[in-house]
């Protein structure tokens, strides 16, 4: 079946549909990871976005139950150069086509994804409409143009959990509508890594869910944390009342500015509990500390971003997924810059001089991506030890 992706600047890509049929609108972004499409699809931070993978062959290893970052795919639409109908891997359960169609996600293949990526790089990310219903390019461009876009839109509300729940490590069946952790961890490939064995002592951590990735929860658990996941609108008082050892500020989609309630919550926690923020959590923390955020031209999405840890001058290859960024110059003097992006010198991490809090813009939990920065989870438990 034919499918069309149209951008606000009038660019139109015609391709073949796979996955679900229908129509989707979102901000069109590109991700440069060569592996990990299932993790990308299921990352709630992509809510509101149509994602194109720059690697041209997608679907090769199928989809499985374990490699998910939330209950199911979160992207609005998925764009690839060549969808592989054959999936070959010992863990594969479904083809990507089946996986997407079961979750109602439209895919388009056979388009020049590099041309699309170059357009987004040169002109910045833009909104787009992907459709198998309406094949009129003008109409699709008009729809894309009419869409409000991500700026100023609180997408957190669309991905946060409705009720608090306790996390237990394990995989989540993709058919379940709620979060139902399974008993056994099928991710046996990770069990061999001695450093990841759960610590004996336990920390009580509350994770504010702005669209949290499961691998953050898995990592926290492996680092000895007992994690209670709470909705984004939970207040500081409610959190403090639970007397956690630390609070985790999760990743999530979209613009941090409209998520005022979370900023307020964080402000109520600063200095009171150890805080660790990732991605949107980092941006919200930045805002809560008095900083400003801005939208990047085309964002950082991939698994090869070099980040320098200024404390020891070591470079970490990091997994990233963000379109907004904390303005380095807007931060108060009480905040130290701990990490910097070597590609474009943007802010990647901060730490407070007085209060026990730190955050990073990138994804130390990886998934997809390298494990270079997993030490940050230990850093969090050490911080909780000290408090």
């Amino acid at each position: 079946m034919k499918a069309i992706l149209a951008l606000t600047d009038g660019t139109v890509f015609e391709g073949e549909q796979f996955g679900a049929t229908g129509e989707a609108i979102g901000e069109v972004v590109f991700n440069t990871s060569m592996t990990g499409y299932q993790e990308v699809l299921t990352d709630p931070s992509y809510k509101g976005q149509i994602v194109t993978m720059t690697y041209p062959l997608i679907g090769n290893y199928g989809c499985n139950e374990a490699d998910v970052e939330s209950i199911g795919p979160q992207v609005e639409g998925f764009v690839v150069r060549e969808y592989s109908a054959y999936h070959s891997n010992w863990r594969s359960k479904w083809s990507l086509d089946t996986y997407l169609s079961e979750h109602g996600i439209i895919g388009i293949q056979g388009i020049d994804t590099r041309a699309l990526t170059r357009r987004l790089r040169v002109h910045g990310v833009m909104n787009g409409c992907l459709s198998t219903d309406d094949l009129n390019p003008e109409s699709l461009v008009a729809k894309a143009k009419a869409w409000h876009g991500l700026v100023g839109w609180d997408l957190v509300q669309r991905v946060t959990c409705p009720n608090p729940y306790a996390w237990r490590n394990g995989t989540v069946s993709h058919q379940q509508k709620g979060v139902v952790p399974l008993e056994s961890d099928v991710n046996d490939y990770r069990l061999r890594d001695e450093s990841r064995k759960p610590k004996a002592e336990s920390y009580k951590v509350i994770a504010l869910d702005f669209g949290i990735k499961y691998n953050i929860l898995r990592q926290l658990t492996e680092h000895g944390c007992e994690v209670q996941v709470v909705p984004a609108q939970t207040t500081a008082e409610e959190i403090l009342a639970a007397e956690p050892d630390g609070v985790f500020l999760s990743n999530g989609p979209g613009d941090p500015m409209p998520v005022g309630y979370a900023i307020e919550t964080i402000q109520g926690l600063i200095g009171k509990k150890p805080l660790f923020g990732i991605c949107l959590g980092h941006q919200l923390l930045g805002l809560a500390l008095g900083g400003k955020t801005y939208k990047l031209k085309f964002g950082h999405r991939g698994a090869n971003q070099p980040v320098k840890h200024l404390e020891n001058n070591r470079v970490e290859i990091t997994s990233q997924n963000h379109g907004f960024c904390v303005d380095i110059d807007s931060l108060p003097n009480s905040v130290d810059i701990t990490h910097i992006n070597l590609n474009d010198d943007t802010l990647e991490g901060i730490q407070h001089r007085e209060y026990p809090l730190f955050s990073v813009q990138y994804h130390p939990e990886a998934s997809p991506g390298p494990h270079d920065a997993s030490y940050l989870f230990s850093h969090f438990t050490e911080m909780m030890d000290e408090c």
């Binding site: 890509f13 590109f30 440069t32 990871s33 060569m34 592996t35 990990g36 299932q38 993790e39 720059t54 690697y55 041209p56 062959l57 090769n60 290893y61 499985n64 374990a66 490699d67 150069r81 060549e82 592989s84 109908a85 054959y86 999936h87 070959s88 891997n89 010992w90 863990r91 020049d112 994804t113 590099r114 041309a115 990526t117 170059r118 790089r121 991710n187 490939y189 990770r190 061999r192 890594d193 001695e194 991939g302 698994a303 090869n304 971003q305 070099p306 320098k308 001058n313 070591r314 470079v315 290859i317 070597l342 590609n343 474009d344 990886a366 998934s367 997809p368 991506g369 390298p370 494990h371």
Partner: protein, 1094 residues
């Protein structure tokens, strides 16, 4: 850390002659290292015996020693140059082994030389199988079950635990030489014995077979601050059991999820840290059980490798260059990424295309040997192709091989019974990909093919898609429309731009292009000419587009123009308005066409860049310097076919295209390109054709009064017999238009002639077989000359040591001539001037002459760069290829200041290196068909010492005393007396068989008697096995039915005993031994020799 200031002078060791498993990728890495370190202001001392390398050009190092790469010779260089540091990781296994030897023997300590990049313990830990295994277990990684054996007995005990099939890997051998897979005890014993003999430390690793598992490689880099990055991941299409150098490989990894890939990445990082490679690149191989995902570590190379060259070309990340900078103290984040210019080299390249590498083999030259692909590498070259899908890259790769395929063609396997297919799938062989196609066409399922071949179903599915698409192309309705459209194109161009036929053609051709089909494949399918398809395609607006290799999947703007073609919606090439010259490279290495031609292409690029042209390089060989994005202004990594070259030509519109430098590859395209309007510069394709076409060439020679050996041409066996009879046997027969003497033979009688005509070649009126009288016992001479159309200057006259009849690429030769007299030399010069004039040569020309008494015959003229150009250029200190390129662009020799011929006051000897140890059972006899893979050069003021150096560089250290076995054919008995006498005078003892011994005795020489094979014991075989003989002189009778002679040579080769098979060769060896007895070898850099020329 900024760069180190405590070291000033760095020694770099190259990899020597091109051999299987170690080819021009180490010239690429070494050249990058020399450039990078010179740029940083270090003084560079280089040792490499291979003159055909760019790195040994005198500009790339401060002191360039073209000397044997052996510990004792390198020690002489160290003693003379006193470098502060030795960088051992860029010259392949050869450099690494010599460095280890120098470190272990205390030479480095003695002279205060620091190993940089990798220290001795790290190299030992990575290279020693036992230490490596221990280290892996230490860090919690799995390795295949295995054990170490130093004796046959130990090996037999081990295999009881490990079981069959078992893998045998000798320690410290190159490219896995001597390794193999044994399926039964008999095979096992044989392989163990061979492996123990080949391993310099008599050590074997016996390993659990992981045959059939998936094979992966990661290219890892580490800097002094312990930052580690993965540059490239590679997946082998061929499963474990086939050496990675013999496997079709794909970058990046295709069938691992991120979870599995990251686990592998974590392991790789742990490994490089544990082994302790301080800085630089390493290659780590893994095997993965396709059923469970269990990952095991196979091996690590603590140095840059063939795979790292591939990874560099595949990603645009220059591993060797960066490794060199890391070795002198920089950290990754302090080095910029050349391609993006604005981001640092400390990152992991991400690619948005698929890279396929396909090996090229040369089994046709080594008939009689087992062609099964095993854990021992046998390919002589490789091609790399880039596409946006696996299908496209694979088909581009197949046509890049220049084996006559234009993609996944219909290989002539149609007659193969279905019952034979399974064994062709399960036993790895060079044509397996075509057998898979044959299996798919016959309806075999992916699962079944996977069960036989262990090739991952993902790849098989992609192959099936190609086959299915090809079937769809022939579907009657589609075929009808397309054929009608093609007909319209031919009969009434421009009239049929719309309509159903055009619509179908457009849709189908577009998809065909995205599947990587070539115009030629489509032409064959629709039974029209390639030109018709091209015309039709252009008419429908289906044109190749070019994309950039940018290390970052378009995330940043690329500064470096490195392109590949695909069919897509956007073309990224923005041609400049500068004047451009395009250079066509030589494609994959093969015997007869390798690094020498790449050397010439690189020189053309450098010279023309200096002259202000924009240079455009087209090539498909990832091992080369020419495909370094630094070499030319623009690099197109593309197959060298008319279609691909025209695509680039139409895009760039260069004012000239050079076809003279890439060997036969671009010459084969020259006429078609010229017809399509491409301006070929230099000697015209028509004049080149005049030299290749026997009848036209005869006319040329008649005009200027030169002689050829009596000859004729024939298009059939019937035609050939009377011609040969008239000429008188023996005759030399060969097909026209070949390089490296492919299928060239000396034929001694009519029966052999018929056999040759009927089986060895496909003769046709367009391609007749050439029959020459074989001039026995003539001296062969090679002359390289350069001409601007008016003036011709001789670059060098090389006198072959062996008599005419042995391919010039397989002969030792000396420059300047060592036995010719001035009159002969003068005549050769005049003949050469006349030939250059007659053929209107503008550029380079090589002539081969045979001299018998006072008669000089022209054997062959090649008005193009020859294999000897780099050797001659190094011998005379003049970069001939650079001059030739500038002549082609319009300069004269006068303007270039090269008008005087140079006769050096020293001697340069070129010696060939053969791959016979890889091809047991094949004919080791030298003849008109070239078999050597590479060459070395020895320089000295004394011709015999130069010869000795060349022999040493080939791996044959001439003995200074001991026992010599002499067995010569009757005709040579007279000549051997003098040689034997000299040897006894020099203190050698003689060993001979009955006949020769008797002749020797009559001439007053005693010899130890051995039995002829089959007549009693001991025979010379026993002596060889016991290493009780130090030198062998054995001239073959030419009788193919005497296998014992072959066996002697094969055994001598296997046991590294120097063997000479011609009287002139033996005489040269005796002179060389004499020279060595009279005094030790000394070393002198090229730069000092060149001073002697002024």
């Amino acid at each position: 850390m900024p760069k180190r200031t405590d070291i000033n002078k760095i020694l770099i060791i190259g990899s020597g002659a091109i051999i299987i498993g170690q080819a021009c990728e180490f010239d690429y890495s070494g050249t990058q290292a020399c450039k990078a370190l010179k740029e940083e202001g270090y003084e560079i001392t280089l040792v490499n015996s291979n003159p055909a390398t760019i790195m040994t050009d005198p500009d790339f190092a401060d002191q360039t020693y073209i000397e044997p790469i052996t510990a004792d010779t390198v020690e002489l260089v160290i003693a003379k140059e006193r470098p502060d540091a030795l960088l051992p990781t860029l010259g392949g296994q050869t450099a690494l082994n010599v460095s280890v030897e120098l470190a272990e023997s205390g030479v480095l300590d003695k002279y205060g030389v620091e190993l940089i990049g990798a220290k001795l313990p790290a190299i030992q830990k990575a290279e020693d199988r036992a230490l490596f295994k221990e280290a892996m277990i230490e860090i919690g990684l799995e390795v295949p079950q295995s054990g170490i054996a130093h004796t046959v007995h130990e090996a037999l005990e081990l295999v009881q635990e490990i079981g069959f099939p078992a893998i045998i890997r000798p320690a410290f051998t190159l490219g896995g030489t001597g390794g193999g897979i044994a399926y039964n005890i008999e095979e096992y014993e044989k392989m163990v014995a061979k492996g123990l003999a080949l391993s310099p430390i008599s050590e074997l690793l016996i390993e659990e077979s992981v045959i059939g598992w998936k094979e992966f490689e990661l290219e890892v880099m580490r800097d002094g601050a312990d930052n580690v990055v993965i540059i490239c991941s590679i997946e082998n299409v061929d499963a474990m059991g086939v050496h990675t150098g013999d496997s079709i490989t794909v970058a990046p990894i295709q069938t691992l999820t991120d979870k599995e890939y990251q686990l592998m990445r974590d392991s790789a990082i742990k490994i490089i840290r544990e082994i302790g490679v301080d800085t630089g690149g390493s290659n780590i191989q893994f095997a993965v059980d396709p059923k469970t995902g269990r990952q095991v570590v196979i091996e690590m190379n603590p140095r840059v490798s063939r795979s790292s060259a591939l990874a560099s070309k595949a990603t645009g990340f220059p591993i060797a260059k960066i490794a060199a900078k890391l070795a002198v103290g920089y950290n990754l984040d302090e080095i910029p990424n050349d391609i993006t210019a604005e981001t640092p080299a400390c990152f992991e390249p991400t690619i948005d295309y698929v890279v396929v590498k396909i090996p090229r083999w040369a089994f046709e030259k080594f008939q009689g040997t087992d062609e099964t692909l095993t854990t021992q590498m046998k390919s002589v070259g490789e091609a790399m192709a880039i596409g946006r899908t696996f299908k496209e890259a694979l088909q581009k790769g197949l046509r890049s091989l220049e084996n006559g395929w234009y993609g996944l063609d219909n290989h002539p396997l149609d007659d193969l019974p279905l019952s034979e297919i399974p064994s062709k799938l399960s036993i790895p062989n060079v044509k397996r990909i075509f057998y898979i196609k044959a299996a798919l066409t016959r309806g075999m399922s992916i699962e079944e093919i996977h069960a036989y071949s262990h090739i991952d179903p993902f790849f098989l599915y992609n192959l099936k898609e190609i086959v299915d698409f090809e079937n769809a192309l022939c579907e009657p309705n589609t075929e009808k429309h397309i054929k009608q459209h093609l007909k319209n194109i031919v009969t009434d161009p421009g009239s049929q731009n719309g309509g159903a036929d055009a619509d179908v053609a457009k849709t189908v051709l577009q998809q065909a292009k995205q599947f990587g089909f070539s115009d030629q494949q489509l032409a064959e399918i629709y039974d029209v000419s390639e030109g018709t398809i091209r015309e039709c395609r252009k008419d429908l607006g289906i044109e190749a587009t070019f994309k950039t290799v940018d290390t970052c999947a378009a995330e940043f703007e690329a500064e470096t123009p490195y392109y590949y073609s695909t069919l897509s919606s956007e073309d990224e090439v923005r041609p400049s308005d500068k004047e451009k010259i395009m250079i066509l490279g030589g494609g994959p290495n093969r015997i007869g066409q390798g690094i020498e031609f790449d050397y010439c292409c690189v020189h053309a690029a450098i010279a023309l860049k200096d002259d202000g042209y924009e240079t455009i390089m087209v090539n498909s060989n990832p091992e080369t310097v020419s495909t370094d994005y630094d070499t030319s202004d623009r690099l197109y990594f593309e197959p060298l076919t008319v279609e691909h070259v025209l695509n680039i030509y139409h895009k760039e519109k260069p004012s000239g295209v050079i076809v003279q430098f890439g060997g036969q590859t671009p010459l084969n395209l020259a006429l078609a390109l010229k017809e399509a309007g491409v301006p070929i510069i230099g000697t015209s394709p028509e004049d080149i054709a005049r030299s290749e076409d026997r009848r036209l060439f005869k006319a040329v020679l008649n005009d200027i009064g030169l002689r050829q050996p009596p000859n004729g041409t024939a298009t059939s066996s019937e035609e050939a017999a009377p011609i040969a009879a008239a000429l008188g046997y023996p005759v030399i027969v060969r097909p026209s238009y070949v390089l490296g003497g492919r299928a060239m033979q000396i034929v001694y009688d009519e029966a052999l002639l018929h056999e040759y005509m009927n089986t060895a070649v496909e003769a046709s009126p367009e391609h007749p077989v050439l029959i020459d009288k074989y001039l026995e016992e003539a001296i062969e001479v090679d002359v390289d000359a350069i001409s601007d159309g008016n003036r011709t200057v001789i670059g060098g006259i090389m006198e072959h040591i062996e008599e005419a009849g042995i391919h010039s690429g397989d002969s030792d030769c000396v420059l300047p001539p060592y036995t010719l007299v001035d009159e002969q030399i003068e005549k050769l010069k005049i003949f050469t001037y006349d030939l250059a004039k007659a053929l209107r040569v503008r550029g380079l020309m090589n002539v081969q002459y045979a001299i018998r008494s006072d008669d000089i015959y022209v054997l062959e003229v090649n008005p193009r760069a020859s294999r000897t150009i780099p050797f001659v250029s190094k011998a005379i200190g003049v970069p001939l290829a650079k001059l030739a390129a500038r002549i082609m662009a319009g300069k004269t020799l006068n303007e270039l200041g090269f008008t005087q011929e140079i006769e050096p006051a020293y001697f340069s000897v070129k010696a060939p290196v053969f791959p016979f140890n890889r091809f047991p059972g094949s004919n080791t006899r030298l003849g008109p068909e070239m078999k050597s893979t590479g060459e070395v050069m020895g320089i000295d003021t004394d011709v015999s010492r130069a010869f000795a150096k060349a022999q040493k560089a080939c791996g044959y250290t001439l003995p200074l005393g001991g026992k010599v076995f002499i067995s010569v054919k009757n005709k040579d008995k007279r000549a051997i007396i003098f040689i034997a006498k000299r040897l006894t005078d020099m203190g050698f003892e003689l060993i001979a068989t009955h006949g020769t011994a008797k002749v020797l005795l009559r001439n007053g020489m005693q010899s130890e008697l051995v039995f002829s094979i089959g007549k009693g014991r001991p025979t010379i075989h026993d002596y060889i096995k016991n290493h009780a003989v130090d030198l062998i002189i054995n001239t073959p009778t030419g009788d193919l039915h005497r296998p014992n002679e072959l066996l002697i040579r094969e055994m001598a080769i296997a046991h590294d005993i120097p063997i000479f098979t011609t009287i002139p060769g033996a005489a040269a060896a005796v002179n060389a031994i004499d020279a060595l007895q009279r005094g030790d070898i000394t070393v002198t850099p090229l730069q000092d020799y060149f001073k002697m020329l002024q």
